[in-house]
Subunit: 306 residues, 2 copies
Amino acid sequence: MKELKVFAPATVANLSCGFDVLGCCLDSVGDEMVVRKNDLNEIRITKVTGQELPMEADKNVAGVAVKALLKDLESDQGFDIEITKRIKPGSGIGSSAASSAGAVFAVNKLLGEPYSSNQLIPFAMQGELIASGNEHADNVAPALLGGFSLVRSYCPLEVLSLPVPSELRMVVLHPLIEIKTKDSRSIIKQNISLKSAINQWGNLGALISALYTDDYDLLGRSLEDEIVEPIRSILIPYFQELDELSVANGALGFGISGSGPSVYALCKGDENAEKVKQAIKKFYEKKGIDFDLHLSAINKQGVKIL
Amino acid sequence: MKELKVFAPATVANLSCGFDVLGCCLDSVGDEMVVRKNDLNEIRITKVTGQELPMEADKNVAGVAVKALLKDLESDQGFDIEITKRIKPGSGIGSSAASSAGAVFAVNKLLGEPYSSNQLIPFAMQGELIASGNEHADNVAPALLGGFSLVRSYCPLEVLSLPVPSELRMVVLHPLIEIKTKDSRSIIKQNISLKSAINQWGNLGALISALYTDDYDLLGRSLEDEIVEPIRSILIPYFQELDELSVANGALGFGISGSGPSVYALCKGDENAEKVKQAIKKFYEKKGIDFDLHLSAINKQGVKIL
């Protein structure tokens, strides 16, 4: 096999009480990438459509992630990478993670799968490092593994795959304003009250339990975040109104996707998700801010071969 | 039914990364209580053996918990309560919780079960309030429900019952020194770093996952606490040595039980638990501190009728 075309999915990280440790993978939003062996011992970004991205491999997250993999493997195989970007950079739904994950997934396949999906995570994290200044795993892990991923530990890295209740749907609103991950991180307080932290880990524990027991209502009650959301939500136009609107229309829960500005409403079933989506659409159309709006099932597979 | 004799179990709360939210119920350590209807419209503590406890109902945790139940029920039924105390107060394995839980369980039975076990938790918490100045649920909940209990939220109170991997065993060492819960709480820092909190909720999430998947090794790796244990362990003689000794002998994890001074080693299987118990015994016997040492399965039922 010389060439592979893959779907590189968008992801929702920092799922409310799961800040920095919990993310999930979307099914209907993502990039397309073509990765092809070359005979040049070189990693080249040969084509980017849909968005402006660095064409220099060392400045492009896909190039950086692939180079990390090849370095670990001590391989001098070259690759050409074409990216059809459908996830907007800075959207908060794992744009850089999709490119990093898609690239290392494809390269790994083309090399005969020397690594498991889980082993690809650290390479993809190198892409995240140049994108956001932070080597986080809660986007690249669900992009590679599918479903819900929990980062138990960063040092050593340990990521768990969690079960996915089958009726879960995500409605994701991306207000077309830009918030850089770096900026969004810098406003977070580095010290928090023990009381808030206890509430947060009580909720995260319950959320994990809800995933194992298909308890949608418990899932909804657990999607609380009193630590990061109150601060970051200030940067997102009409956050509070969107939250109330979504819940009033039956969403299980509502929160910030990644570092924003995208927000997500977690819903049970297509019908309810469609209702929440329409309510958000109607509300936001009046506000004079351009936006993208997605409805997606949870992608249990992660990166897919097309 | 006029009279009931119950086994009121000891519990291990603050299970490492589950500080303030996660506790579990022991099988072979606990008090015995006899609760009997009287015709006096009065709650009386009629007999206490094994320990010195207040005989005045308003100062005894069992009396306070029963009064809270009867007030909610608007009942003027009187009860006599006899307590054979085998759990030492101040031990850190839920002495007050056992009395509170055992008393409300028995009274509820004698009144024809107007409340579910879960509904009894707030009454038993009133007992905890006078015992420790803090209305915590992570001892009374597992005492009443059995197994592992997770407190998702205190306001409103929501407690989840979690599955119990069948081979889990607890070795509990109680060094016979007294640490008051109030004092042990006061040394905890009320502000913590976000980084530590993130590690803690990553571990708690993984611990919950491990309970659902019978993953003993993951359970062991998750039993970390970088927030409370480093501070509280200073009060416990030879904590670090006991931790290393337990893990070296095959324990899954080690930590402080409740607010101490008891410590627990979580083990897989009777054989390993016995090995860890003997190693701890041999070590502590040389140290000149009196101690109690327990080996127990996890009690899946909670308070039991004898």
